[in-house]
Amino acid sequence: MPTITLNKDVLEKLVGKKLALEQLKDRISMLGTDLEKIEGNEIVVEVFPNRPDMLSEQGFARALSSFIGVKTGLRKYNVRKREKNYKVIINESVKKVRPFTACAIVTNLKFDDEKIREIIQIQEKLHIGMGRDRKKLAIGIYPLEEITLPITYTAKKPKEIRFVPLESDKEMNGLEILQKHPTGKDYAHLLEGKEVFPIFMDTKNEILSMPPIINSHKTGKISEKTKEVFIEFSGFDYDILSKGLNILVTALADMGGEIYEMELVYGKKKVVSPDLKPVEWNLDIKYINKMLGLELSEGKIKELLERMGYDYKNKKVLVPAYRTDILHQIDFAEDIAIAYGYENFEPEIPNVSTIGEEDRFEEFKSRIANVLIGLGLLETNTYNLTNKEDHNKKMLFEADVVELENALTKEYSVLRTWIIPSLMKVLSENTNREYPQNIFENGIIFKKDKNAETGIAENDRLGVALCGQNIDFTRIKQVFDALINALDLKYESKETEHSSFIPGRVARISVNDKGKSKGVAYIGEIHPKVLENFGIEMPVSSFELNLTDLYEAIKK
């Protein structure tokens, strides 16, 4: 989750009130952000991904200030009328590659190192979170004095685009940037295979940038001298771009900047940007109170909404233009609850009667475990994930395993198809522990099966392994026999072959399921070669029983 680093002094100044450290910690947590740490003047806060507007010092301070009741209600931001040339012409050619942009001009800025760093931080956080690493949204900020308005947003063949990218001293064409420039390489996948690449260009045909990759070295770098900037957001959904732009320009306005509107010319359609008009929502107070379990008056609800930065007028909520997280009335209910304080709700269990019920099969598995524990066996608990080395190679048995697409390590890269390999692994890791080691596990196994919803059938299996001196076929069959007797079932054993077991000492066991014989288990002495592969120097005998099938046989 995204985090931001705040300067305590700056924060206090923006909030308009000093809080004692403990109180500050508490308020930050109860506002719905996760306090990571406070060290000296540095505060690190985790912001939930639904609130990108809180990813700047200004945005965070705005929310905190109203939450603690210093400056409540909707913040007003003035958007000044545009000059005639404050215009961005969007050429049709961008439709194929990155169709939309939302833009603004901000003036009266006073930058210093600190502020420039702050702006870069906001830009990066928006890129990563809301922008999904520049895919959905990419941001460009340019010093106005270096460019000549109006601007054109257009797309050209990569080789026809030539400019000196940021942090470079050589002119490159569009393709070269993707191949050679470090930032170009990082984001090349976003333009790969496109016939044309998008660019922003000023009236003198000076290229400002090639979104979402990089700005021009000449026009795309703000410095301490910069007083006025042109800002563009480019992407695929105008609403998202517009919200993102609002987050950035309001943060700049909180730094003292003045926002100017621009005209965006989409062919015949003309749009004025940014649009900081609050969005109006109806509010059903009865619904809100029902969800909260409270009986708040309309006046109280108004007060609480104001504490979360909204206005409430004429039965309508006015939502700030930078809020991206309001999809439904329920979102107001939560914000009202936060303002009311989660700590102030009285927990209650309603007097509603329902009947508890354990899953029958889970109960069955638990009973099986109890029988085995009664026989002196120790239950283990292993991973469902394993690897082909342990699961197939060491077991001398080639199982068709389900593989993961993106395993981080080879060690946990496939799903098991039977339990005994997991038990062998446990025994191999306990050779320095006291013997006998008689263990069992109820676990899930995974097999490819076209009939299953996911194409993978999951079964519950019981694996038992006895390990120690004098362990043989008789001993394991005694355990099996005791278990099956406990379930009041009859079974039949037949000779079979299985490469993990000693030939002549392995059997297939079937039970009677409604008149039909059904194979449910393998039982036998584990092959010494397998023991050698696992580094086990004691004999092991083992069985694996399909509990899913066994349960079917028992159900009347």
């Binding site: 329920i330 991973y383 799903l415």
Partner: protein, 512 residues
């Protein structure tokens, strides 16, 4: 004196064998020899007597000398340098001739020359003719310190710390030579008798009249009558039995299950592999949400895709994502892709089971409560605080009158039953809940808050498409492993599934 009589009554046959011998020796190995018992039997007898304040067992660790391979050889044939000297005792000889006569190896010859020159005992003349001098003759006459030490070692145990000066000198020299002698650490036990002990060992123990083990034969014949039973030391430590046992993680899971059942919840189960549809889409998690990235979630390579449920449900979920459908929501405003929803994943939460349960639930069955406790997965590098597999406890309450305060009530009750009196709730965020909360519990011993995970009320965008109506659904899914670790004092999460049998056998039972 009565004390001693009482004491004699409690003596085990092994103790009776060893006790009189303590008059003769206090050394353990001697006791073993004299008693003709096994080491462990003597030791057991001594330990029992120690418990009875008869004696104290002390351990004596010393370094003793043992002959090496070459040392044994030297004892038989003499030390090479003395053999060398002997061969030239009467006349000077050519080196080759010496080698031939003494049958010493080339290396030994070289070593001898170095050694004897060092002791100024020989002279090497022109043409490699070697002659003995006065020093050499003296050496032969009195024998070397080294030879003497070797002889001493072969006769009896030699304690390194008790060597005389010349022996020390010889020891240092022999130590440098290959395989001559080896210092070995030797442990020996000896016994110091207490006053009671001194009395005991000189007492007449009398004939053994007491019964040791009660046998079926004694019961049949009644021969036990009129006899005394030897009194046991009831405080004695007994060897531990390896017992059958439920794995401690499963004990905790069973306990938690029981709580949900007591609170009237019905168990949900389901598969570990799920389509993205159930794991994400049905839970209103946008298809470009970062949680659906490769670095967070395990995807299946083959079969990579599964089947979607019935068309009507899929269409409703699609519309809810895109426009909010009839839920009163704006939706996520993007184009929903069916193929993305088909992707198989290892479930990242048990919440997918809640989604499936809502789909099957009928209106007449409300209000209803369900729980699940199960394994989930996340694509994480495994270290002391992270696992790729973890346990979650899931719960939902479907009730048209449910509200936020009820959510807090159920959770508080559950954690109280788990042993945590104090629970705290903070605002949180999950794509499928609104309200969303983070649960902290207060650790009564450590006096600190522990973060456990999330809960909330399902968004209408989740409930209405699945259930058909918009009813509040309280939902939670806090992680369970932290609680297990706290209870069993485990600091490294990997230990939960390490299956170190020593730990699994030894760890306490789950009890609240």
């Amino acid at each position: 004196m009565n004390d001693i009589k009482d004491l004699i009554k409690t003596l085990h046959p092994l103790e009776r064998r060893v006790a009189p011998l303590l008059r003769q020796t206090a050394i353990f190995s001697e006791l073993v020899k004299k008693s003709r018992l096994k080491d462990v039997e003597v030791m057991r007898a001594l330990q029992w007597m120690q418990n009875k304040q008869v004696l104290k067992i002390k351990e004596d660790v010393k370094e003793v000398l043992v002959l090496g391979e070459n040392g044994k050889k030297a004892l038989k044939t003499g030390l090479p340098e003395l053999v060398f000297l002997n061969s030239i005792k009467h006349k000077a000889k050519l080196l080759d001739k010496i080698r031939e006569e003494t049958k010493l190896s080339k290396e030994e010859i070289n070593a001898c020359i170095g050694l004897l020159k060092g002791k100024a005992s020989i002279h090497i003349g022109k043409g490699l003719v070697v002659s003995i001098n006065d020093n050499g003759r003296k050496l032969l006459q009195r024998g070397s310190f080294e030879e003497k030490l070797l002889k001493k070692i072969s006769g009896k145990e030699v304690d390194v710390s008790k060597l005389k000066d010349e022996e020390k000198f010889a020891f240092e020299n022999l130590k440098k030579r290959k395989d001559m002698i080896k210092p070995v650490i030797k442990k020996e036990w000896f016994v110091i008798l207490t006053n009671t002990g001194k009395k005991l060992v000189t007492s007449n123990l009398g004939p053994e009249k007491t019964i040791e083990q009660l046998t079926p034969a004694m019961l049949k014949t009644g021969s036990w009558k009129n006899k005394e039973f030897r009194a046991y030391d009831v405080k004695i430590n007994v060897p531990r039995i390896i017992r059958g046992k439920k794995h401690f993680v499963n004990q905790a899971i069973e306990y938690a299950k029981r709580i949900w059942l007591d609170m009237g919840f019905k168990e949900m189960t389901g598969t570990l592999v799920q389509t993205s549809f159930w794991n994400f889409d049905a839970l209103f998690t946008a298809q470009d949400h970062p949680v659906r990235d490769l670095q967070d979630t395990f995807f299946i390579k083959n079969p990579a895709r599964g089947r979607l449920p019935d068309k009507k449900l899929v269409e409703t979920v699609k519309q809810t994502h895109e426009t909010g459908w009839t839920t009163g929501s704006t939706g996520w405003k993007y184009k929903w892709d069916e193929e993305e929803a088909k992707k198989n994943v290892l479930r990242t939460h048990t919440t997918c089971l809640s989604a499936q349960t809502l789909t099957k639930l009928k209106k007449e069955e409300l209000p209803a409560k369900f729980f699940a406790l199960g394994r989930c997965f996340r694509n994480e590098t495994i270290d002391w605080s992270h696992l790729a597999e973890f346990n979650q406890t899931e719960g939902i309450v479907v009730d048209k009158n449910a509200n936020f305060r009820h959510l807090l009530g159920y959770l508080k009750q559950f954690f109280k039953k788990m042993g945590y009196e104090k629970a705290r709730f903070r605002p949180g965020y999950f794509p499928y809940t609104e309200f969303s909360i983070e649960i902290d519990i207060f650790h009564p011993v450590k006096k600190e808050w522990i973060e456990l995970g999330g809960a909330g009320i399902f968004r209408p965008e989740v409930v209405k498409p699945l259930l058909g109506i918009d009813v509040p659904v309280l939902a939670w899914g806090p992680g369970f492993d932290r609680i297990i670790m706290e209870f069993f004092n485990i600091n490294d999460i990997r230990e939960l599934y390490k299956n170190d049998l020593k730990q699994v056998r030894k760890i306490k039972e789950w009890m609240r």
